[in-house]
Amino acid sequence: MYIVLSMVGAILGGGMSFLIRLELMDPGLQLLHDQQFYNVLVTAHGFLMVFFVVMPAMIGGFGNWFVPLMIGAPDMAFPRMNNISFWLLAAAILLMVIAAFTQGGPGTGWFITTIFNMRAPGLTMHRMPLFVWAILVTAFLLLLAIPVLAGALTMLLTDRNFGTAFFKVAQGGDPILWQHLFWFFGHPEVYIIIIPAFGIISQVVSTFSKKPVFGYLGMAYAMVSIGFIGFIVWAHHMYTVGLNVDTRAYFIAATMVIAVPTGIKIFSWLATMWGGSIEFKTPMLFAIGFIWLFVMGGVTGVALANSGLDLAFHDTYFVVAHFHYVMAIAAVFGMFAAFYYWIGKMCGRQYSEVLGQIHFWLFFVGVNVLFFPQHFLGMAGMPRRIADYPDVYHGWNYISSIGSYITTGATLFFFFIVWRTFTAGEKAAANPWGEGATTLEWSVASPAPFHTHEDLPDMTGTQPAE
């Protein structure tokens, strides 16, 4: 259900981004004659994609389904709360579309309970599949970051409606406080989005290389340390706010440190593939695509980490290109990989391999044509969040919009594949991937029954033995 919701969100959010690119294709205001509406669109696109597409699909959809399966528990702890959070989310998306403003996101503390308390005997922490680790780290991040957002939003609401003055200068407040609070939530939030994708990619890469994940402990603790550092780098979004110069120096250093665990992850994936016997099925293609996007977005991130360079890049399209590569599109690739990887397990029918691969290539070319030219626009100085731009920026904007046509087409094609899978897909075996798929979910039938693992599986002595 989460995944269906997330598809609805994707249609809305994706449609909005398509509108945005249509508007930006040529200079001058064509489609949207009201710049306020453009601003609303950009905001709503971001909110929808983050809260209603990526988070429900990754955490709600794949997390809810496969964490219990992979650790050998019958279902999540607190199933009723789980249920209500879905309906809250569904209500929130409605409100959001109506008002284009909301506060949302599933509360996920119970993942921690599930993972700590409901593991099968012998499945020690150091034997858990990396996807479970990823969800665990993510749940901690959510638990710590969401209250800050909720608090900040409450302060904003009382400011706007009840006459308080947390952020209003005229009454002694300070908008910079809002920025601090927002980014204290906002930076961990990007890891909330990408860390489940890390987990998915690790599973997929390992399965299709027919090898266990290389450097398992390093991978798990890389995620933990990325999650931790993610909390102490928030002001790198605020280099041009006018912060004290020594403060900026600290945030440069802290931010660059993130590159180290990230590098460990990239090289470990490559090392997992190294020496493997790789089958390039659709999930694997998306996983490799993910690594490419993540490396691209990662190196531009190292550039942006430097406050000095940020003087040139801040609030330009360079940043737009960076975060779409490293987090947004990379997360979407993670979701597609997860979809193709697990769809057989979830609905009992397998997708069409040919169609899946066509989808991958269309989508991969589309997003690169869409976002790569935005690096050039940013370096040439085009600011983000503008509905109309000076004529000199026309060329690359035009190319970028063409990329968005391709991407939209590829996404429509994906919905066609989903429909084909449900109506004409072949029956999926319990384990369609062969010897490489070693995690517990492949030991139950496809589709997975309602309550799985009622007899606890014994995991002593299997899985990566550390």
């Binding site: 390093g218 493997g276 016997s277 790789i278 690594i291 490419w292 040139a312 109309d388 690359w396």
Partner: protein, 281 residues
Amino acid sequence: MLKTMRFLAPAAALGGVFTARDALAGQGLPKPWQMWFQEPASPVMERIMEFHDLVFAIEVAIVLLVLGIMAYIVVRFNHKANPAPSKNTHNTLLEVIWTVIPIIILVVIAVPSFKLLYFADKIEKADMTLKVIGNQWFWSYTYPDQGDIQFDSIIVAAEDLKPGQPRLLTVDNKVVLPVDTNIRLLFTSNDVIHNWAVPAFGLKLDASPGRINESWVRITSEGDYFGMCSELCGVNHAFMPVHVQAVSKAKFAEWAAAQKKAAAGGRNDKFKVVQAEKPAR
């Protein structure tokens, strides 16, 4: 103006870009299809570009390395070329190497980065000061060292442009500044957070209500430099450009004297001291 039909006529639309070249291109203004920074016009921007060359070289090397490894893996370790997978999952030396080398690279980046950061931060001895005040949606400027010249700088609507004036970047009153002078810049705002940015100067700083931010610039060559508001500030965020005209010191003194005289003689209808009404857009 442009019609929606243009989406359906890509060739026509692309053709339009090149005919509309303006006379000011090459000076503080990017060119069509530009893929790199604008020409630097301040020591800060020169250093930003120098530092970026280093970072960029590292970025390219990393991307090529990963790409190379991936290509090798795809060719050598696909299931046809290598039917029997190895079971190798550990190599402590390798893991130490790919932890330590990135750390070394980061240190290499960090040292010049900190130098640049402190260099760009502020200037100890300034020759003059310019105050910049953000408004929804225009900029106000004050020259405290030139007898408090004050004026607003408001965008010129597309239909009022003279030939050669770039659309969305042209203002009624441009900021005139002398070259080869250390200019201290002070930023604040009357309403919401704005951001004053001129890419050619490597300059970008928030104008924040209730705060005064400081930066500096030393313009190295005469010419016209353009920038745009770089912090979302409401509906007309895209329509509050910055236009700096850099002139010789002598010309600047002349200009300042003329402005002062005009203000004293009451002929200041061109440069309004009072808040201009919000531009109707």
